[in-house]
Amino acid sequence: MGLNWLQEILTKIECVGPFDIRRLPEDETWVVIPFDKVFDFVKLIMEDDSTWHLSAITGQDTDGQIELLYHFWLGHGLTICTRLAHENPQIKSITALIPGAAFYEREAAEMLGIGFTDLKDESVLLLSDAWVKGCPLRKGKKEKHDD
């Protein structure tokens, strides 16, 4: 993998703030940045790189924190990891930059209870109309639908 590519990414991240970086298998670079810097970093990525592609947005409940991962493909894999509070997690939506992220954010919102500010359509994507309450991918007791 080109060292130039990694250098460029590092320069961009340094513009937004403190970060943590490591390499994962199968050509993936993993960066951890604070949640309020994610929007600016995504904007920087899209400005220069004409071949950016957002593969997915993953939410997960790790011990004590909610992690949100933005998986990009820029010729090499780049995952932006950000950590949110366990109670009432909130983050700015990136749909203003990438409209296609709406489905991914809606799914993360209903599965983990993450609040995305500026997300236009906040309706439920996959869960049923009869779903009572609770987030299926949060750890602990499963809440059920109304039978």
Binding site: P25, E26, H53, L54, A56, T58, P99, S128, P136
Partner: protein
């Protein structure tokens, strides 16, 4: 001033093979806008996988979708093998790729038949599904199942190919090749088919990128992405194939891309069979996976299939995230169904190659 009507398509509709609900707001013969409701096929696979072991999850992952079941289990097994640090034998990679390409042919022929049926070409539906049976026969001879193959295990594959089987594959695909030429000729040249599919459901290159669209839909709009070429892995790094693109971005372009891709898959299978290396087909895998994370992408028939797996050191996955290629394609539908003729709505819906079971998981 004509009244506005709301016309529902789905969840049960002769046009759709799977339940999904569209609501079209129609004024006269024009569709003004649309909305959709997913979730009819949501089975909570990601949560179910967390309650199974890695080995049990292989069977669950295969049943996310019946049309692309092999590529789901291939991506999952590849991701877990990467976490385990396993060196899977080259022969296993070749056998997996062989089935991936056979699945691509069967999926594209299935879609072609469904599109033909929805634009009124019932005869083409019958011909393509009859020819698709040839591919299903090969898959049944190889693995025992027409639709669900269960050939992947963590560590490799569990069924080997002998020379007799390889001869059967080549012979049967030779039977299929001239029939693909007829289908391609029809869509390239027949004026009524072109009238029905050209300039319908246009997605520009910029819109495709902004909606994160993948697969034949993106390639038909001029976006040059194909995971088989972009992430060089065995056996694709040693095989010759073209990535088919087009610039028109309409349903016609997507049809041409898919038919030509079927031909490329045929070429790939011929190369795989002739270059199949000798050796084992499986290595032993531990039940407990060391802690770590992995991101894995494969090219399913509908585009980039994405898996993220996190392991916490036990024999159960801590998190599996699956992003299937139909989900971004669905997000382009409100744009495609804006200010179009009502009669074009079925063509647009068919052109997207919906696989709702994949999208809902």
């Amino acid at each position: 001033m004509m009244t506005k009507l709301k016309i529902p398509i789905g969840p049960h509709h002769p046009l759709l093979k799977e339940p999904i609900s569209f609501l079209l707001t129609v004024e006269g013969e024009r569709v003004l806008e649309s909305s959709m409701r997913l979730g009819y096929v949501h089975r909570g696979i990601e949560r179910l996988c967390q309650e199974r072991t890695y080995v049990q999850a292989v069977h669950l992952i295969e049943r996310i979708c019946g049309i692309c079941s092999h590529v789901h289990s291939t991506t999952y097994c590849h991701a877990v093998e990467t976490l385990l640090g396993l060196e899977v034998p080259l022969r296993a990679h070749y056998i997996r790729a062989l089935l991936c390409e056979l699945e691509r042919i069967h999926s594209h022929l299935l879609w072609l038949g469904v599109l033909a049926k929805n634009i009124g070409l019932d005869t083409v539906f019958m011909y393509t599904w009859r020819d698709r049976e040839i591919v299903l026969d090969i898959m049944e001879d190889l693995s025992g199942g027409r639709v669900s193959h269960a050939i992947n295990v963590i560590g490799g594959v569990k069924i080997d190919l002998d020379h007799k089987m390889m001869d059967i594959i080549i012979e049967k695909l030779e039977e299929l090749a001239p029939k693909l030429t007829i289908a391609l000729g029809l869509f390239e040249n027949e004026p009524t088919v072109r009238l029905r599919t050209q300039s319908i459901g246009v997605i520009t290159k910029e819109e495709a990128a902004r909606h994160c669209v993948v697969g034949p839909i993106a390639r038909a709009s001029g976006v040059d992405i194909d995971v088989r070429r972009d992430i060089p892995r065995p056996p694709y790094d040693g095989l010759e194939f073209n990535v088919i693109t087009h610039t028109a971005g309409d349903v016609w372009a997507r049809t041409l891309v898919r038919i030509r891709e079927t031909r490329e898959s045929h070429r790939l299978i011929q190369q795989i069979v002739s270059q199949l290396p000798s050796g084992d087909i499986v290595v032993k895998a531990k039940r407990r996976v060391p802690p770590g994370e992995v991101v894995c992408r494969f090219e399913a028939p509908r585009g980039e299939l994405f898996y993220y797996i996190r392991s916490d050191g036990s024999n159960q996955p801590a998190r599996i995230k699956i992003r299937t290629p139909t989900l971004p394609a669905l997000s382009t539908l409100p744009e495609q169904l804006r200010d179009v003729n009502l009669a074009d709505a079925p063509v647009i819906l068919s052109g997207v190659d919906l696989c709702i079971a994949c999208a809902d998981r």
